[in-house]
Amino acid sequence: MDYPIKFTLNSAEVEVEAPATINLLRLLRDYLDVTGPKFGCEQGNCGACTVHIDGEAANACLVHGLTIDGREVTTVEGLGTMEAPDPLQLAFYEHYGAQCGFCTPGMLMASKALLDHNPHPTRDDVVEAIVGNVCRCTGYNKIIESVLAAADAARE
């Protein structure tokens, strides 16, 4: 049996039907073709699927898909585009915050949630915000620099 779900996805209203065994990650990727959030573990331990739900970072794989009804979901696709990127995306580009790019969508959403709540974070704040997002390529250093650079740019 499929259940109807209506929610706001990247500022657009969407309607979809899915069974009661769906998580938000699969709902986005397999039903709505939104592939920015990545499948990294489906155990809530890698953060590659991080999205925003009502403005807060959440692991999409741990969210029961049907609980999204009536709520607002933002994925990396809703953050900005190639033509009009979010300053955070631009900072990740310029400061080499993305190597293989697989953790990047989740990393961006986790750090974006931080900046939304705390526009002037310290290095430790950034670290705390991304502890649940595993990156095997960068050693986190340039990711943290990217987030701090985006915060600095916004200050100017």
Binding site: N23, A113, V131
Partner: protein, 293 residues
Amino acid sequence: MASTKQEVLYFAPASLEAALELLDQHAGKLNVLAGGTDLVRDMNLKFKVPPGFMWIGKIGLEYVERQNGHLRVGAATRMQTAGSSEVLRQQGAAVARAAGKLASPPVRSLATLGGNLVNASPGADTACALLGLGAEVVLTSKGGSRTVLLEAFFTGPGETVIKPNELMTEIVFKPTGKGQGSAYAKVGRRQAMTLAVLNAAARVELDGDGKCSDVRIAVGAAAPTPLRAVEAETLLRGQPWTEEAIEAAAAKAAEEIKPIDDVHGTAWYRRKLARVLVGRTLREAGEIAQGAR
């Protein structure tokens, strides 16, 4: 023979009454879904797909309030809410700390205190902290409510006394005030985003003469359920609050636990950590009680 596709039910009641009614109707066939961080993970990994889900995110169970000298925390209060609650940080420091140390921000925006208790993992962060705070939980069914002391709530790994038609609605404990303090500590296998190899919590009350008038000690990941170190408490209660007494209690706690070897560490290591972390939480709670921090 081919297994037939399982039809899984889903409900998202809008009120507590409706939720209790559903639990009553579908007794044993609905798993209560709060944050989902355990339930949905188990579903993903095919460990366990329940016959149905009932989501309680819309029935008003997220709150922290002080009432009749008690702190009452809604069972669906999320870790990020608990961790950043000023009331909890002041009057229930152990649980605020534990909630703030659990996993990562994208998990803390989902996971709930009630879920962490009902899941009954022996090393659950907030279970240990709340046990140390002497918390009780309110279990509500269509027929009424009952209150269960947390140490009587857990019966084994993943097992509790909650009945299929009951919903955990509230967590209640005595706040800490003047002359009282609580603390929580954990050792994991890395600096963050880690299950506890061992965790410990303590609540300490000191009287005007520098004696320990009451104390509670909880140790997690050290037995099939989070454990209260009763004998260690006995060594402290009514005695002068000294470093020697704390050391003796910590050593006793390390004897009381029943740890095992697993991927996170050996029983040997857990006993060592129990002594260290019980000592540290007692000291920190004592310092708070003395107004030293």
